[in-house]
Symmetry: D2
Subunit: 407 residues, 4 copies
């Protein structure tokens, strides 16, 4: 039931608003929220190369409802038509934002300061924007310091929606529904193409890895990908790193061999022994230097100076000395490595994929490879709309990706 | 291919070794590992009330293979027939165990010191045993201090397998395969019975909660369960606590109401605002005292003095001030609350269920309620063999459990 | 890569083309297919009550590509702007269509005969249209007879897209993504509302049932729904009917009771004995009349004269005498009962849900209740775009639905 | 609660009763059913090569409970110690069995006639045994004719449990839990080894195929496997055969190419056109001979005279003329091809896998390849205990299997 509207605003959206479904999604949001709209102006590109532009007048029953609606619309790149300067308020305590703080999207944004539109550094969702003499910066709640000037309300903030992938490009091809019923050979080629494009454009490739990469035989080819320079940054947890090292250190020295697929129940303490020895060395790098670790993904990362973050988790054994047990610090370490990432490969991990999705800007081409269709869906549900799900067995996938990139 | 055996050991198993599948599992492990066995002695109880006893002579091709085999067998309660005193070695550095350390199971255990069998405190899997003048204590790797005497090898350690659930008991009824094709009404009654029994026996009930408890409408009835005294300890993450508070604080004050099931995309920053306000108050308890939080699971925990641990995760927003961002400290906080827990309810959570399974002794009746059959399997795969999976929608399940316990 | 366009057509779409995402989907299809388009005319409704209209000029590189594109677009309600009369060809053999036959959508359609637009009877996807002196009728391939006049090509056929659900209606509320993280209590109320609306409008309610309805305790409340007149038509397989009867006939007479949840492995031949006895009686109705079956869903269907179709399957035991072993005949029997169905409840069945989806017109409100999220997705993927997935435990869901409708 | 026992029987089990978990499973069944037992005699093999033998005295509270218990135990190869001749009764009508008919397991069985143990032909679960002058034959209910002598009760029937797989054999390796976290490369090698062994032993290899084989790129390598003589029998449905032919006939002639992975929504009527043309030819073989079909799995089956059964389903379009629309007749056609099958590959199909499992004897090595872990579990739950689940992407799996067998 719609109450009589009393508050109105006029908003603008520009770009490929029709062939990327933006306009209808926006109208859906408006109608669902119980608001009313009037299409003041609509120019649709005559061909599929022309951009479009819509001006919409919104009416809601209260100022609160309007504010909530504008927040939801801004995720889709809708901005106020006539905007004013931002308003800021000071943080009263470290790690606490002023009431009414502006909450960011992961899209490229600008803020209006003294009539001038200034770009916001480090786009990331669910953060605040802190304004200093040097400009505006996306800042997670816990890093706001007492006295910081934080944007409140949404006046003076505008976002730029993603440009659609070029028709015919690898990403456009894949940006359809998650499905296990697609030939994975084709998908591998498209991911390889995207990786090559990213490197050609000077962008980095990030691999985010879960333990199933090791269990399904994917750590060997992944190590080769690192060795060959295809992976520039690696995020994982204590489990992945431990199993990767364990499979290399103990793989052939005990009866319980990875290559033979023998009983994995036995040697249930092997991972603890490996963690203990790395702890004795002091770090993975020292364990590599000391000759304890002689191969595998972590070994190649050390040898090739590929930076990695091992984020701790409450279920960890040990953990390895490199595992960052403070999760807030770990997320900050990930943030530091995110700039310039152009492609993110989420390999059989839910927790780390979501954590990575939280800190990636919207424009990063993201592929979620998992045997479980729910994982990719989950990522997209949490705001990483650009994530493409590939439902397949991750071990063979990485092997095929290696072949595609080596060929 | 089996090499010629050169190393032999004689082992003993006692108790309900046949009707709980222990004996055949043990023979499976022996055969799989490539070892040979001879049944030296076997007494099987004549009726289903009589215990049984088997003495088995094992032969392997090397001392290393024998050690690995004995480790795998000990998880099933197999001990050396003739045993000696334990051997210990000193830890050379904080958080580092001596090579060859004994790795624990989650079963009740004893160690032989100077010919006397001494019970081991705090059973927990994947830990070391530290021996002091006061006895022997299970100790996680990170809590071992330089100079601690740690058991090495497995001589002098014996474990006691779980007694089987009494035929006809709630737990015996349910200890069958995970299945979504069972009437959940029956299962609810059995869980309620188990909870009543635990409380009658002076044991605690632990609830481990994921965010889907809130999304599926389960937080209301769970809050009532806490209020009525059925829940004694609560483990969760930042997400569960945030959504629980958000649904209570903002549930009716905004157009986006939980009860109406309206758009959840909107108000995407509501959880940030809730976290920020709790941070401003300083803690959940202070936010309750300050009147900001007026209901819900966390509110009832504060009001009823039910201790809780919110374990941090790398994907957390905020986080809430109560969330322990150091995961090793969080697991230690969980360990401190585990003694006397008799029933553990894992409610729609994978991460926290596994983390909890890691620190629970084997005897705790554990129920994993999840709409995804893979979750309960996962827990059992990681050593929590006693976990029983209930594949159903968690919200209605908690509501029905409340009815069953209130009735 | 797009070749130079040589073939052009102008198409029209009308109705709620923006706020139901139709226009962008259509532009997606055009761009994906490698065609080019020019927006000749576009009128967008100024408010959310106004219909819209678009005229688009398409260009493709070949006549075949244009034909394929028009076929794909017609599913979305796109028709040629200027159309001619239909063309027909005679079937040369029973059950064989002329080459180039027009393949139907499940949308309401009309065909132009001698300049007049005539409605097509019995909308159903993936069929042919046979034209007689009496008009035009959707006809499955196997029912075409030698000499029938069948429409070829797509000239002279136009389809009417679905009207969007009214904002605020039960169906609009639910027509969002499949998710297990919604409170099922809310969803139950919405389904109940839709059922009441259908009955008020003189429409029928169809239940399509899988065996898990019985296993999860849903057959008792479903029988009550039938008894209370809420279900007008029932489709199922041999397994559902057998388990429903077995649970009623043998439920209390043997130690293996449904209510006690006892071992189901035992009594593994019970279903065969039940089938054999019903075969002895000759039919389910005769077994009811003879007193062999005294309760359950099938019993209530017989007593209330609710028509049912039990479609055979290659995995069936027995089968029951009522099970139609010829699957083509069974689908035809389903077709005969589909007219006037306004709501379809797919209850924990994949095979029969898809079979039913095949023969339902697009406008039927369809709910897929299943604990597995993949099932509803599957149905939508196969052309039943209107299907709404409800991911929950089916037994409790039916019980709650009974409560909602009885209240 | 156990009532006072009044009925007793003594049963025997022999063979590898301990290291294959048979004995404990049997004791589980006894205890679960509320019966009591006494171990009269137990000889356990001293080494893992020696067979064992147990004599158990059972007591139940009623004759009905004893009968139910014996039925459940017989699935595990438990027979009465002292047995008598069989009892038979005449069928009173075609397709109807006498009350109290003996229901078969899928294990090798014998029946005692005039003091002599006679083997039962065609082992298959859930059937009756018809006795004639020529011996005893497993007979599905629908094939019993009026006047046939059918065994009633379980006196005089004994079953032979499966011998365990030899330690170290491919099957023993794999006969562990379903898991997606195993390297599929290892599993492929083991399946290839099993296929080679079967062919060396003169046994047939059966492939049971679902449509996802085609969608995931597996039909090309599967066609090569047929062409190379590795597949001897093929079961599938209308969907698999249609998509296999469609991908070959239309794969390159339209813009919608399988190799390019282009839009599959378009060309939604392609499968109907293919079915229609095959109907015009009269059969798949005639369509091959007529040059309409020039490659693919069905083409190779025709060319290599590999017999196939396409079982109809209620969701079928068309169907193809080779599809058997009567499901009872289709299952009978499958039964006729089952003898001598030594390996069954279930490739991404649930319906046909279960249907095939129904008619296979217990000894056939069965592999269920599916991306969904639930499918293999489902097969084992329905009595095909020997089924081994391989959770991976089926297309790459078949390609790797081809490589492994070709190498």
């Amino acid at each position: 039931m719609t109450e009589s509207p009393v508050v109105s605003e006029t908003v603008l959206l520009e770009g490929h608003i029709v062939d990327t479904s933006r306009l209808p999604k926006i109208l859906d949001v408006i109608v669902e929220s119980g608001a009313e709209y009037e299409m003041v102006e609509l120019e649709i590109g005559h061909t599929n190369d022309d951009p479009s532009r819509a001006v919409i007048r919104l009416s809601t029953s209260s100022a609160g409802a309007m504010e909530a609606l504008l927040e939801r619309l801004q995720i889709h790149g809708v901005n106020r038509l006539d905007d004013a300067d931002i308003t800021t308020a000071k943080s009263e305590a470290d790690g606490v934002l002023p009431a009414g703080f502006y909450s960011t999207t992961n899209l490229r944004s600008e803020v209006r300061i003294a009539g001038v539109w200034v770009p916001v550094q480090d786009p990331e969702m669910d953060c605040a924007i802190v304004v200093t003499a040097d400009g505006a910066r996306t800042t997670p709640m816990h890093r706001v310091r007492r006295g910081d000037r934080v944007i409140v309300g949404r006046r003076g903030v505008r976002v730029h929606p993603l440009a659609p992938a070029a028709p015919g490009s690898a990403f456009a091809f894949m940006a359809s529904d998650v499905s296990s019923e697609k030939p994975s050979a084709l998908l591998v080629d498209k991911v390889a193409e995207q990786i090559r494009t990213a490197h050609r454009d000077g962008q980095k490739v990030l691999a985010v890895c879960g333990p199933a990469v090791v269990h399904t035989g994917g750590s060997g080819p992944l190590a080769q990908l690192v060795q060959a320079g295809w992976i520039d940054v690696l995020f994982a947890g204590n489990g992945f790193a431990t199993h990767d090292i364990e499979s290399n250190v103990l793989g052939t020295s005990l009866g319980v061999s990875v290559s033979g697929g023998g009983p994995t129940e036995g040697g249930h303490s092997n991972h603890l022994r490996v963690i203990n020895e790395v702890r004795r060395h002091g770090s993975i790098a020292e364990a590599v230097d000391g000759g304890y670790v002689g191969g595998g993904v972590m070994y190649e990362c050390v040898k090739k100076n590929v930076p990695f973050v091992l984020g701790g988790s409450i279920r960890d054994d040990g953990p390895l000395p490199d595992t960052m047990t403070d999760v807030v610090a770990a997320a900050d370490a990930m943030r530091a490595l995110v700039p310039d990432v152009g492609v993110a490969l989420m390999l059989a991990t839910t927790l780390h994929a979501i954590a990575t999705g939280n800190v990636l800007p919207a424009g990063v081409a993201t592929f979620c490879v998992d045997i479980n269709p729910a994982v990719a869906t989950k990522l997209a549900d949490r705001g990483s709309h650009q994530a493409i799900g590939i439902v397949t067995d991750v071990g063979p996938f990485i092997k095929d990706l290696l072949d595609a990139l080596a060929g």
